[in-house]
């Protein structure tokens, strides 16, 4: 596998779509989580509302980070939790229209997860996941030969 591209060309080709997917996922949480909390738990005192939505959002963001890290390490099946999270964002946000949300935050909280799903489904992202699996195999082989020595 000596046709493996250099780091620079690899980044130039795949980093935008990789980062775009991460940012889209983070921003869908940014807009969806407060909206969901405001709509479905209107009786929660503001302090608790903020605490749960902020810390919950942080935990979910950590989940996004973990998934993407595992993808970068060459385990493409970790893309499914991401897809589920984004789908849940869309499904959770859609009915909140009944609670009269701010139009901008409602629009953005639908736009970002859909954008994220689009990016994850793109040809580039699939290609990158495949390439990263190859890199992982290569890495394991090299580490194995190092240990054998």
């Amino acid at each position: 596998m000596n046709e493996l591209p250099g780091i620079r060309s690899f980044l130039a080709q795949y980093f935008p779509v990789f980062m775009g997917a991460i940012l889209a996922a983070v921003f869908s949480l940014v807009f969806a989580v407060p909206l969901i909390f405001d709509s479905y738990f209107p009786r929660l005192p503001m302090d608790d509302n903020l605490k749960y939505s902020f810390l919950g959002g942080l935990a979910l963001t950590w989940g996004i980070v973990q998934c993407n890290f595992m993808i970068a390490r060459g385990r493409p099946q970790w893309v499914w939790p991401l897809v589920m999270l984004l789908a849940l964002c869309v499904l959770g946000v859609l009915p909140t229209i009944a609670f009269g949300p701010h139009p901008l935050s409602y629009g953005l909280s639908l736009l970002f997860p859909l954008l994220g799903l689009l990016l994850l489904n793109s040809k580039r992202h699939r290609e990158m996941r495949q390439k990263l699996v190859e890199v992982r195999r290569l890495r394991q082989a090299i580490i194995a030969t190092h240990k054998a020595r």
Binding site: L4, I7, F10, L11, Y14, F15, F18, M19, I22, L23, V26, F27, L29, V30, F31, V33, P34, L35, D38, M46, D47, L50, K51, S53, F54, L55, G57, L58, T61, W62, I64, V65, N68, F69, A72, R73, G74, P101, H102, L104, S105, L132, V135, L138, R139, I142, I143, H146
Partner: protein, 307 residues
């Protein structure tokens, strides 16, 4: 203030003349000026007084001692029919509108940090086959940096989202203890991740804490993003001494290039002193005249050139 008469201390109409007479008889001007000149950052700042009837009286012209760009202390008297609490609210609420832009800028900065973290992760991962074990350390550091900065990206984005839907949530966040502790943890984690040197970071913060007597949160908060970037660069230059001279020069250059004039804030201590100087006179005579303690807002404004 295009009227040339104002610049030599003359007032254009009778109402302003009367206002000047009243203010000069009520406020201990030398003491007020002394309080202002005690702060090196605003020595010789101009003093403008806006009274309840919107008469603008220049008590003192700006003298270019502390800076070339004019700085003015604006003292604004509350309208008589507004309660002090309401007035304070009004003054505080005024800069509210520009917060969205500030939060958005903050978000883009911390998301830029996240992007750098992820570049490290991805390039570290791809580089591993070539360098074997050595760059797995880079990947581990990258994981910390990417995690912390992505979480910060979420945290600052969350504030933007609040600012859009309900700005009072952000005020609530700022006053919550759990929020502050979470942000300390994130700040520390991102500093450790980017600087890759736990000891240095904590030492620096501790040192700062010892000299300023501030809490860790305050110290970290006192450093704005740019300063934090500087601190990170310093940490990096400790690790690689060859880079220092070049970096310093670059930093200076960029510092000069990005210099901007913004409404500056008077230091808390100075405001207190100014209010003390005002309070003794205004509080007493004011209540004697109108039966109401007079409320005054203090603000410092900087500008690029004379209006």
């Amino acid at each position: 203030m295009s009227n040339p008469l104002l610049n030599i201390g003359m007032d254009s109409n009778r109402s302003q003349f009367m206002a000047r007479q009243r203010i000069e008889s009520q406020i201990n001007l030398p003491r007020l000026f002394a309080a202002i000149d005690a702060d090196p950052a605003i020595v010789g700042a101009g003093v403008v007084y806006i009274d309840a009837d919107f008469n603008v009286v220049t008590l003192r012209e700006f003298q270019p001692i502390c800076s070339i760009a004019p700085k003015r202390i604006i003292l604004r008297e509350a309208q008589k029919y507004i309660a002090p609490a309401q007035f304070a609210q009004q003054v505080q609420d005024n800069p509210r509108e520009s917060r969205l832009v500030g939060e958005a800028i903050n978000t883009s900065l911390s998301c830029a940090g996240a992007i750098i973290g992820w570049i490290v992760v991805l390039s570290g991962t791809v580089a591993v086959p070539f360098t074997a074990g050595a760059s797995s350390v880079i990947t581990a550091i990258g994981y910390t940096a990417a995690t912390a900065s992505t979480l910060q990206c979420f945290a600052s984005g969350y504030r933007v989202s609040n600012e859009i839907s309900d700005p009072s949530k952000n005020d609530k966040l700022d006053s919550s203890e759990w929020y502050q502790y979470t942000m300390i943890a994130l700040d520390a984690a991102s500093l450790i991740g980017v600087g890759a040197s736990t000891l240095t970071t904590i030492k620096l913060v501790r040192l700062n804490q010892a000299t300023t007597g501030k809490s860790v949160r305050e110290v970290l908060r006192g450093l704005n993003r740019q300063e934090r970037a500087k601190l990170t660069k310093e940490l990096l230059s400790i690790q690689d001494p060859r880079m220092t001279a070049k970096m310093l020069k670059l930093k200076q250059l960029s510092g000069e290039a990005t210099k901007r004039f913004t409404p500056a804030q008077v230091k808390h201590a100075t405001v207190t002193q100014i209010q003390d100087a005002l309070g003794a006179a205004i509080g007493f005579t004011g209540s004697a005249i109108s039966g109401n303690v007079r409320t005054i807002a203090v603000g410092l404004y900087e500008e690029m050139s004379n209006e």
